[in-house]
Symmetry: C2
Subunit: 166 residues, 2 copies
DNA sequence: TTAAACTTTCAGTAAATATTGAAAGTTTAT
DNA sequence: ATAAACTTTCAATATTTACTGAAAGTTTAA
């Protein structure tokens, strides 16, 4: 297999993975392309390689920057902007976990907490409240772990995980 | 707040959460409805409550059953099928993790392993292989943890998690 | 067996989401 | 100040994904 072919397959696979987890295909593909590339790339190069429009490239690069997965780089003497992605997989996972927890888990946790305040003592309501309480307990534990993970350096998490999986 | 209103909000929130994680809204809503309901429900009741068509209800109920999140129940003397969802949040998380890892993580892991076999010793290729190796290491660790999680009883995971987050 | 009670399928349609590309906006060098 | 080099925006459009509902299929009781 050639390097180019390998990169290509990686871009495909990463793009598909993203899209089945609710991240748009182009965003994941650009991310994959930058992960697989040694050097930083310009918008133009990204457009050409992935055969996407300027607008699409621009929007998704910006999204990746917002997620903290890609950063802008200036090359001395050049007017263009260059983009690169971190190669540290732990860091990538951390960033993704952080963003998604913030955007999607937190709002639900808030609602679930509220829902336990209903005043109704039917059997049905009792059971509902119990389920919500369990759910809150669970999400707060997940969040707690994520928080530690997010704040931790790679080593801390690595060690904990190792001891966890023995 | 009334119980019905609370259930409603929960259904909305759970549905939105699912859809931002690549699980369709109806599927998550039905799941939420069944989690929030003390008794098992028929297709008819689900259709009415969520205002969805028969076909949609049927397809998503079947998907939930495939995922192991919902089960059919027969009520003695009744011809209709009743459906209910487990209320144990740990079990739910376990089931979801298991299904998604199988469907979406495994294929990528396989590809990533392959991609390290390219024969090319440019700097660029060297770096690419290194990134892929890290990625493989990472996913295998995640998978290992998931496996333990999936096979474990609630207690095992609870204890491990507690020690992890201290 | 047959007909009522129920479940499943699927072609057509609707809704949500992503993409394009041209125009507007911004920055920089001279 | 201005024009070239570049970035951003957004309305129109294409693509993907989900939903409907009627028809076909299945099961059960008598």
């Amino acid at each position: 297999m050639q390097l180019d072919e390998a990169k290509n397959q990686f871009i495909q696979a990463w793009g598909a993975l993203g899209s089945s987890w609710g991240i748009n295909r182009t965003m994941s593909s650009i991310h994959a392309l930058l992960i697989a590339s040694k050097d930083a790339m310009t918008t133009e190069e990204i457009m050409d390689t992935l055969k996407i429009s300027r607008g699409n490239a621009n929007m998704n690069i910006r999204a990746l920057i917002e997620w903290g997965l890609v950063k802008r780089e200036m090359v001395a003497g050049e007017r263009k902007e260059y983009f690169s992605a971190g190669k540290d997989v732990w860091e990538i996972a951390r960033q993704i976990a952080k963003e998604r927890a913030k955007r999607e888990l937190e709002p639900v946790t808030k609602i679930v907490a509220d829902l336990q305040t209903i005043e109704d003592d039917s059997e049905d309501a009792k059971q509902f409240k119990e389920t919500m309480a369990n759910l809150e307990d669970f999400t707060s534990k997940v969040n707690g772990t994520l928080d530690k993970f997010i704040k931790s350096d790679k080593n801390w998490f690595y060690k904990s995980l190792m001891s966890l999986i023995k």
